[in-house]
């Protein structure tokens, strides 16, 4: 009896030793302090679009995800990366259904930076919950976040590959654009009935535009922490008159928004409009998505629009 127990114990020790050498317990720095994750989680729930993106890029299809804005399912660009297994819906970003998360019995939860303390307390009792530390918005945030998520998933290499693939693609695109003579100042705006909102130059998409050789500006209208400016007065529209104007719209058909903007004489007076260098883009992807897959999708957009 005693010998058997000893033997079992030995086997257990050996096994756990093996597991540890295969997958070290990792300590992650999160917004709510240090979180330990062991092994390679397979049952993952993502409560944030950027986490879903990073997780798919790392090769893990989450069991659950929240819906994207503008729909009752995951974002459009994500669809292409989903196999037959689709993540179950865990509610919307505004109301995370904690019971639905529990039902998936996850061993890892990847959450958005803006998780409330109360939600974190509950979620972290279900599984280790990784919340990226909040920081001022910066174009490179997505890399740090993707690395954190990748580390939690124990797929650091896959994430590094995905990130360097984005960097490489951006570099290629940059030289192609340079050869084609495309460059200059660019603004990303959203068109509202009263006028445009200028998007921050610190946005994810703006960072990618920078990487391919454009200079993204926000005319000093967006504060340090802001994502977009207030609705700009039409009298000051010339402030967004650069070499390129990216017109983000949340509609499927960006042309429609462009037509609406063209109804305004203040808009059609802009040089950039008269040179026809206005690019309607998908606002959902350009202003809210995050992660390596989204980066590739945005680079697709840039390539299609800017390369002659």
């Amino acid at each position: 009896m005693g010998a058997a127990a000893l033997r079992n114990g030995m086997v257990g020790l050996l096994l756990s030793g093996l597991l540890v050498s295969a997958a070290q317990a990792r300590t992650l720095d999160t917004a709510f302090g240090e979180v330990d994750v062991t092994g390679t989680p397979e049952h993952v729930v993502t409560l944030y679009e950027g986490a879903l993106d990073a997780s798919l890029a790392a090769g893990v299809t989450p069991l659950g995800a929240v819906t994207t804005r503008g729909g009752d399912n995951v974002a459009e660009y994500v669809e292409a990366h989903l196999g037959d297994e689709r993540p179950a819906i865990m509610g919307v970003v505004r109301e995370i259904n904690i019971e639905a998360v529990l039902e998936q019995r996850p061993d890892l939860i990847l959450a958005p930076a803006r998780l409330t303390e109360e939600q974190y307390q509950l979620l972290s009792r279900i599984a280790p919950t990784v919340v990226p530390p909040t920081q001022p918005i910066a174009p490179d945030n997505w890399k740090a976040e993707a690395r954190l998520y990748g580390n939690a998933l124990n797929r650091q290499d896959a994430i590094e590959d995905a990130i360097s693939a984005v960097d490489q693609r951006a570099a290629e695109l940059a030289s192609a654009l340079e050869n084609a003579g495309v460059g200059g100042r660019a603004f990303v705006v959203r068109w509202m009935p009263g006028g445009p909102m200028v998007m921050s130059k610190n946005l994810f998409a703006a960072g990618l535009l920078d990487q391919v050789g454009l200079t993204v500006e926000d005319a000093g209208l967006v504060g340090e922490r802001g994502v977009h400016s207030d609705v700009l007065s039409l009298e000051n529209l010339s402030r967004v008159d650069g070499d390129w104007l990216f017109l983000a719209t949340l509609n499927k058909d960006g042309r429609e928004a462009l037509e609406a903007a063209k109804q305004s004489s203040a808009f059609t007076r802009l040089d950039v409009v008269q040179r026809d260098q206005v690019v309607p883009v998908n606002g959902q992807l350009w202003s809210s998505a995050n992660g390596p897959l989204a980066a590739q999708a945005i680079l697709d957009d840039i390539e299609a629009a800017l390369l002659p």
């Binding site: 804005r69 503008g70 505004r94 039409l234 009298e235 000051n236």
Partner: protein, 333 residues
């Protein structure tokens, strides 16, 4: 009596002068780099193309629209208050804003985009909201309880905004865009919008002129009005139709702007006395004055961006609301 008439004439002259002055200033100042001096040069005939674009293409239309919106809301408020005999009856408190927001949310959820949305949707919503409150509280019955109409409006607005939230819960895109639609603004409105709304507003204006006398009779009481050969029920519904046309048109042009319909008749009554006909005349200059003044603050307060005018009118309208109820008794109309 002649003394009073003379005083009112002076007041009217002053108001009209003030309106001209404010309209002029509205052409001169803005959020942009075109300062008053440059704008003045344009008015004097200078060839500065940037400045003349700003003055004639941007500031002139919004000034014009501001004037029309102010008149429409002021007159609508005065009418509604006269017919309901309730100094608190204000279109903005009666579900107009909530109705407009609800209609916009509905169309957004059904796939439209804020950038391409036709303003008529908001107009329709505003109308339906206003009519709902008025019809459920039965315009006839509210005379006995002025607060009832306001409560009904507040409750109805609450219901509509909850339904709006329910739709927005599903649709994040709409949630993102609606935020910019629920507060009124004069920025970026075009003269086309004004032209589209003008016919229906003119119809309302003619109707108001025709109804002024019966309305004044109605103020003497139902019996007196009937004795003078008027039909109180008919008058009421005509007035409500006029209010709907005026408020709907104003909301379609500028979005929901609350409290103008409360403050303007309040001021007009203070000057004109109890006669509804004089009150209506006084509303015509006072309404635009208030809207233009609020719009100018909206333009310069956070330049180079702009504030929505709806916030400003709410800020200056609420104190008036309070002072109305602070009066020892609600003045009966």
């Amino acid at each position: 009596m002649p003394l009073r008439v003379a005083r009112q004439r002076t007041q009217m002259t002053l108001l009209l002068t003030a309106l001209v002055a404010v309209s002029l200033v509205s052409l001169l100042i803005g959020a942009g780099e075109t300062g008053p001096l440059r704008a003045l040069a344009v008015l004097a005939g200078s060839q500065d193309s940037d400045a003349s674009f700003v003055v004639w293409q941007l500031r002139a239309p919004r000034t014009l629209i501001g004037i029309v919106v102010g008149m429409a809301l002021g007159v609508a408020g005065a009418l509604l208050q006269a017919v309901s005999r309730n100094p608190l009856a204000e279109p903005g408190l009666l579900g107009v804003s909530a109705g407009a927001a609800f209609a916009v949310a509905l169309t957004l959820v059904m796939g439209a985009s804020a950038a391409t949305l036709r303003i008529s949707v908001a107009q329709l919503g505003a109308l339906v909201g206003c009519l709902c409150v008025l019809s459920v509280t039965r315009v006839r019955g509210v005379g006995s309880d002025p607060v009832r109409l306001v409560l009904a409006g507040a409750a109805f607005s609450g219901l509509l905004s909850s339904l709006t939230s329910l739709m927005l819960l599903y649709d994040q895109r709409a949630a993102d865009e609606i935020r910019f639609w629920v507060i009124g603004s004069l920025s970026g409105r075009r003269l086309d919008d004004l032209a589209a709304m003008l016919p229906s507003m003119l119809v309302a204006a003619v109707a108001v002129v025709l109804m002024a006398r019966p309305l004044a009779a109605l103020a003497l009481g139902e019996r007196a009005a009937s004795g003078l050969g008027h039909h109180p029920g008919l008058i009421r519904w005509c007035v409500v139709a006029c209010v709907a046309l005026l408020v709907g048109g104003a909301t379609a042009m500028a979005g929901p702007i609350a409290f103008v319909g409360l403050v303007v008749p309040f001021a007009a009554r203070a000057m004109a006395g109890p006669d509804i006909r004089r009150t209506l005349w006084f509303c015509l200059p006072i309404g635009p004055l208030m809207v233009l003044a609020a719009d100018m603050i909206a333009r310069v307060a956070v330049a180079p961006s702009e504030l929505p005018i709806g916030v400003l009118t709410a800020l200056c309208g609420a104190p008036v609301l309070v002072s109305v109820v602070r009066a020892r008794r609600l003045p009966s109309l």
